[in-house]
Amino acid sequence: MSSTSIGLDIKGTAMSSAYAIERSTPTSRVAAIMALVLVAGLIAAPWWAGRANLRLLGEIYTFVALSSLWNLLAGYTGLVSVGQQAFVGLGGYTLFGLTIFTGVPPLVAVALAGVIGGAGALLLAPLLFRLQGAYFAIGTWVAAEVFRLSFAQVAALGGGSGTSLPTAIVVSIAADRSLREGLIYWSALALTLVALGFVIALLRSRTGLALTAIRDSEIASESCGINIAWTKILVYVATAAISTMVGALIFLQKLRISPEAAFSVNDWTAFVIFIVVIGGIGTIEGPLVGTLVFFALRETLANLGTTYLLILGAVAIVVMLKAPKGLWGVVADRFGIALVPIRRQVKTR
């Protein structure tokens, strides 16, 4: 190393020779093209998929979105929430409340749910961020239960037994059933792309770099000028906003809501954690892989009843023991590939 011979030109700029910062790799460029082709194919799904498959795809999208967002929270920000059902449920009830009481069009209500979810998270944050680690996890769950019990008191939305979306509102999306289902499907696809795009853009940004820094060393992060608390709250609120929109869309697909379904810790958090853990926590690709595995298991085994849940549990245990970084972690370690490149590469010219 010949560093001593290099003059340290702290203020000057003459030092830096020509360089460029790159991120894409040949693998990632191929992956990007394949992703575009895939998205194009999925946009066209209403023309090639049957009604049941369209429904299944829509459901898969919402789980891709929820698990990618949870992965951003737990895998990158260190915020292990077991209360994301608070926002899914809030989204569902926002959709029903806004459309029934104020006559807002359903798809507009889905967008507005994002604002309400973000505001809700901003109100919860001062309470939850006093808690650390496992206590934070329990706190989020308690908050979700408070939401569930609160919405069960709203008699106009069916109280504890829930309600259906009135036919007039459903028809207002589009009178023709297949067009309506198409619109809901495209909305789910678009929202999932927004969620994925948000996660990827955030991780590639300066804030994503700060998240990695915070994960690696909090004391060094602060001494480099990073505002740890603000960074975490930002991610928490943004994640909550999108999760709430996803929640609204989920119940637009279901057309029926009840407090039990809306704030189900099983459906909106346990399955989501399962997906992220088996796919690979702390990787962008993990939640996608995990969602595919989860739905493959569900579609083939769901008619086994409780045995299906036993198998899910066994799969989770085996993956955690044999591949703690998840299925994608195994692939990425063995072949050293990243479909979505995050790291910056300095190229000198």
Partner: protein, 242 residues
């Protein structure tokens, strides 16, 4: 106006006084060495100045402003950079990205506006060839250089170096001293905690001796090193410091 003015600074954990009524000043452009036995409270003093912990009493004034209550990120923005005794690289990102964090967050600049500075500091620190290596895969010397580079990237007016020469071979140590000499020559003030005294003496123009949290001596380096207090404290320590 001095760059840094520490007045009657105290920090205690229960009955244990880790920093006990310490006062000193640092003029702009000066280099100050801090020595003392292990556990004397030297790193605690750095943590107090950098804002990683809060004092129980006393004041820290930087460039005329009382910064005692500011969080460490704000002190960094104002121009206090630090390296850690045990390197704290951000292991999940590349060397370049580590330095970019300092250049960007440390100066409150956008990523685009920080790339040039990050590259500049990398090459000045002899780390350019390791730019794309994950920081977790660096050797000890490279990690120490990265500590220095990341702190330097924040464009500090005052650089706090915590035992940065420890564990290095003689030629490595010599290289590092040269780098620090260049940094000082560029106008950065330095406070340096170091057990490798000959490295320290090559740079600093004043030394403070800390023992049991108290400042027990201060003055011109060779005079301080020759004093009875220092000889007594270092009795029983290894030869390089005695």
């Amino acid at each position: 106006m001095p760059l840094l003015e520490v007045t009657a600074l105290s920090k205690h954990y229960g009955a244990l006084r880790v920093t006990d009524n310490v006062s000193f000043t640092l003029q702009s452009g000066a280099a100050l060495g801090i020595i003392g036995p292990n556990g004397a409270g030297k790193t605690t003093l750095f943590n107090l100045i950098a804002g990683a912990i809060q004092p129980n009493a006393g004041r820290i004034v930087f460039e005329g402003a009382d910064i005692s209550a500011l969080p460490s990120r704000e002190r960094c923005r104002r121009g206090i950079g630090r390296s850690f005794q045990i390197p704290h690289p951000f292991v999940g990102m590349t060397t370049y990205e580590n330095v970019l964090i300092g250049a960007s967050y440390g100066r409150g600049a956008s990523e685009r506006a920080s790339e040039g500075r990050a590259i500049e500091v990398l090459s000045a620190s002899g780390l350019m060839r390791k730019a794309n290596v994950l920081a977790g895969n660096l050797t000890l010397l490279e990690r120490k250089r990265l500590e220095l580079a990341r702190a330097l990237a924040t464009d500090p007016k005052l650089l706090l170096l915590d035992e940065i020469a420890g564990g290095l071979t003689e030629p490595e140590c010599h290289e590092l001293v040269e780098t620090i000499r260049h940094i000082r020559a560029s106008g950065v003030s330095i406070i340096w905690i170091e057990h490798v005294v000959h490295a320290l003496l090559a740079i600093v123009d004043r030394i403070i001796v800390i023992n049991f949290g108290q400042k027990i001596a201060e003055g011109e380096p060779h005079r301080v090193m020759a004093s009875a207090e220092v000889a007594e404290i270092y009795m029983g320590l290894d030869g390089e410091a005695a």
